[in-house]
């Protein structure tokens, strides 16, 4: 099968999933429960995507856990997105270097 047909099918599916709810529901939802629900979607979703997946994204559980903890501590200090991501990457890198010698 032509790879561009596959790519187009993937792209179109993904676009429709994003586009339809954004264009079809333009009025403010009055229902209080639904509005609260939608407000809480981002944090609930990002959390579920991060943990425990982050633990298994590196070469060992330990480096994944340390990357996770470092990201939390640096976020609590109020650092920017890039800073948190960079510190987390650096922590994973250093931990794996150290684990090599153990």
């Amino acid at each position: 099968m032509n790879i561009y047909i596959s790519i187009f099918a993937m792209a179109l599916t993904t676009y429709l999933i994003r586009m339809l709810p954004l264009t079809l529901f333009q009025k403010k939802i009055k229902n209080r429960f639904l509005r609260s629900f939608l407000t809480y979607v981002p944090c609930a979703c990002l959390t579920a995507m991060t943990f425990p997946s982050i633990l298994y994204s590196t070469n060992s559980l330990i480096s994944g856990l340390i990357g996770f903890l470092v990201a939390i501590v640096v976020s609590l200090w109020g650092k920017s997105l890039v800073m948190v991501a960079a510190c987390s990457c650096a922590a994973v890198f250093l931990t794996e270097q150290i684990l090599c010698f153990l």
């Binding site: 099968m1 596959s6 990357g67 990201a71």
Partner: protein, 237 residues
């Protein structure tokens, strides 16, 4: 002005995307996909998990319907996000800009847009999407071309960049609001259950993300319904 602020706010995501999509480019190259094709995938799809799954499906010779179904399941969380973002946009933003903005409503851009204190404007949202799109496509291209040059250790470490960004978005909100903290913890516990309880871990990770999101956001909406001040003010105005 709003456009510039958007570009500036989107910059960290753009940089983060570059490092993450570098991994995608490298993976695509190792599966025999050309650097150009990998970049086309990234530019047209702009989604991390969906692309990784799609790449696996394509190289495994899956049918078109399997490919579409995979995207539907993995990316259905975007439907929730778009619904949520649409509410925040309000009636000021019309259909045409929505058609464009929908294209780059990724997890991170969505999170940034929702975290903005001021009302959303079209220039701001368009600016927000600029560097992430460049970063995601450019990183894929670079990764596909240069993957062999970088040591594995560095590539592995870059893999947590995206998670780091997620954490950096959630933590400040959880710290500021008890309700968000509670919902975050509920989602965390549910996610662990889906991952580690033998009877439940047959559920795919994409479906598990959707279930965790829906259950914990619903519990949150029941326990901590948001007040209607905003609506009242709009009615007065």
């Amino acid at each position: 002005m709003e456009y510039k602020i958007g570009v500036w706010d989107g910059m960290p995501v753009g940089i983060g995307y570059f490092s993450v999509s570098f991994g995608f480019g490298a993976l695509a190259a190792s599966h025999g996909i050309s650097a150009w094709d990998a970049a086309v995938i990234s530019f047209s799809n702009l989604t991390s998990a969906g692309q990784f799954a799609g790449l696996t499906a394509i190289t495994a010779g899956a049918s078109l319907w399997e490919l579409i179904l995979t995207q539907l399941v993995i990316n259905s969380r975007y439907a929730l996000m778009s619904l949520s973002l649409g509410q925040k946009m309000g009636s000021r933003i019309g259909t045409l800009p929505r058609l464009i903005i929908a294209f780059f409503n990724t997890d991170e851009i969505f999170a940034l847009a929702m975290a903005r204190q001021k009302p959303l404007t079209v220039p701001y949202l368009l600016g927000l999407g600029l560097t992430p799109m460049i970063g995601w496509t450019g990183g894929t291209l670079t990764g596909a071309l240069a993957s062999s040059a970088l040591p594995l250790m560095i590539r592995t470490a870059l893999g947590v960049a995206l998670y780091g960004m997620f954490i950096a978005i959630v933590i400040p909100q959880a710290r500021a609001q008890k309700s968000i903290l509670a919902i975050t913890l509920i989602s965390l516990v549910l996610s662990c259950l889906f991952y580690w309880i033998p009877a439940l871990n047959g559920i795919s990770s994409s479906l598990s993300v959707i279930l965790c999101t829906v259950i914990s956001a619903a519990i949150g909406a029941l326990l901590f319904p948001i007040d209607d001040e905003e609506n009242a003010q709009e009615a007065l105005a």
